[in-house]
């Protein structure tokens, strides 16, 4: 009894009296974004996608990336229907087969949504590795179906584009999560 208590006091003496701040990290599942910021970024990125820089065949699809990021980080607000609607808008803008982007975006949003609980336990680079195959798979399905409908193979530029999009996950994610991180910092400091 005595020896036990003495050992416990000894261990308490060696350990810091207060747990380290890192362990007080707030549960990422409870982090919710300001809806105005969320929709603002979506519309901004959509408008940015109307610019001619996307004419480069390997250009990453930033809109798809932002939609899937929000599907992971705020799956209550952004989901498959949002992705589908933005996909249709891009289809009309690109004057391509109607439904190509809609299909790709919907599949991507589904991929992000089913794994969002798991993904939130990872850092951005870990999420990037998880999402890269999803980006490639959804682009591949979209392109294959369109190639079948259009009767022409468009080449491999979609693959490079999907890989670029996936690799931009940490950068864009870091940018979009600035408000959340700031709030988390404030909460940690308040403890």
């Amino acid at each position: 009894m005595r020896s036990q208590s003495s050992s416990s006091t000894r261990s308490r003496a060696t350990q810091p009296p207060v747990p380290r701040p890192q362990t007080v990290r707030p549960d990422p599942l409870e982090n919710l974004t300001n809806p105005r910021f969320l929709w603002g970024t979506l519309v901004l990125v959509w408008v940015f996608s109307l610019l001619p820089w996307r004419a480069w065949p390997y250009a990453p699809d930033i809109l798809l990336l932002v939609i899937s990021l929000w599907c992971v980080y705020d799956s209550n607000r952004v989901g498959l229907i949002t992705a589908f609607v933005f996909g249709l808008l891009m289809d009309v803008h690109d004057a391509g087969p109607l439904g190509q982007h809609a299909l790709t975006y919907t599949l991507m949003a589904y991929g992000a949504r089913v794994s969002h609980r798991r993904l939130l336990r990872f850092e951005l680079w870990g999420q990037c590795l998880h999402m890269l195959p999803v980006f490639i798979a959804s682009s591949m399905i979209g392109t294959l179906i369109c190639a079948w409908v259009a009767g022409a193979w468009p080449g491999w530029s979609w693959l490079v584009s999907a890989i670029f999009t996936g690799l931009l996950w940490p950068c864009i994610g870091w940018l979009l999560l600035i408000p959340q991180r700031r709030r988390a910092d404030v909460e940690v400091n308040s403890v």
């Binding site: 109307l50 498959l80 190509q100 919907t106």
Partner: protein, 315 residues
């Protein structure tokens, strides 16, 4: 700490898999319908009218920069253009005397044969490229004028090199043209050298047009120039289309195909000309009062070439 609005014990709404299935089925249906029929064009038109303000707003900085740049460079551009034109004028002077000679001779011969050819100045609209859609499946250009300027689907688009393409969709403010290397465009052409009539299609090779399904012993070789034949009535005769640079003669099938390099440059400049020819379902194409008389006059019915092979068959 916990916000009450976010406390969700049970999932609300339909399950994700159900939404996914419905949306994927809708996408597939849209894709298939859009590839085969024109049923979805009104929907596409409505959406593009809705996003038009955003497109213009977002391209405003670029347009402003281009305008200012044009202003600043106006003097230099005018000077260099003037030099080029002087040179061209001298070169053309010789050619034009020759052409005038041939023209009178031709007119005389036609009079002798009783063939009439009324040359009517084609009403046209200058358009500027609004943007080039990023799309792996087809080659399109979107222009900054639409049905408000009298543009209708089917009208040809030209530049100084020849045929650039054909208008495929219009909204009141914009119009979308398929470049002549796009699969959907087919242009009745003839070879300048021997008058062989063919139809030029967009090719699978990017940036090329091809003619196919003609007998493998047909007289066509590298360097032949294809011009529009005027058959079909949509493309006026005599516009340059392409120069043949590859001929494949397949002795097993008995057919040959040839590829050509387009003589126009859809990728180079910003301004093009849309010819306001009468097309299907668009008998009064012009709302611009300056060009109404020529299309409203009775000669508009006969302003197509009335050569021996011209048929008023609209595409």
């Amino acid at each position: 700490m916990q916000r009450p609005g976010n406390l969700r014990l049970f999932r609300r709404g339909p399950p994700t898999e159900f939404v996914l299935t419905v949306l994927v089925i809708i996408s597939l249906a849209l894709l298939i319908v859009d590839a085969n029929w024109k049923t979805l064009n009104p929907f596409r038109q409505a959406v593009s009218i809705a996003i038009y303000p955003f497109q213009r707003a977002v391209m405003f900085p670029r347009d402003a920069v281009l305008t200012i740049n044009d202003w600043l460079n106006a003097a230099a551009a005018a000077k260099s253009e003037d030099e080029a034109l002087q040179k061209q004028r001298i070169e053309l002077a010789q050619l034009s005397t020759h052409a005038a000679q041939l023209g009178t001779e031709n007119a005389q011969l036609k009079r002798l044969l009783g063939v009439f050819d009324k040359l009517v100045a084609q009403p046209s609209v200058v358009v500027e490229v609004l943007y080039e859609p990023a799309n792996a499946f087809n080659r399109r250009l979107v222009f900054n004028k639409g049905s408000n300027a009298g543009i209708a689907p089917g009208m040809p688009v030209i530049d100084e090199g020849g045929v650039v393409g054909q208008i495929v969709r219009v909204t009141p403010m914009t119009s979308e043209a398929a470049v002549l290397t796009d699969e959907v465009v087919s242009i009745p052409v003839q070879l300048l050298r021997n008058g062989l009539r063919l139809i030029a299609f967009g090719s699978n090779t990017p940036g090329k047009v091809e003619v196919r399904y003609f007998a493998s012993d047909a007289d066509i070789r590298d360097g032949d120039v294809m011009v529009t034949s005027g058959v079909g009535g949509v493309f006026p005769p005599g516009l340059s289309v392409a120069r043949v640079d590859k001929v494949d003669r397949d002795s097993t099938s008995g057919f040959a195909r040839a590829e050509g390099q387009p003589s126009s440059h859809p990728e180079r400049y910003r301004h093009f000309l849309v010819l306001l020819v009468p097309v299907d379902g668009n008998e009064t194409p012009v709302s611009n009062p300056a060009v109404v008389p020529s299309s409203a006059s009775p000669t508009s019915q006969t302003n197509r070439s009335e050569g021996p092979n011209a048929q008023p068959k609209l595409k």
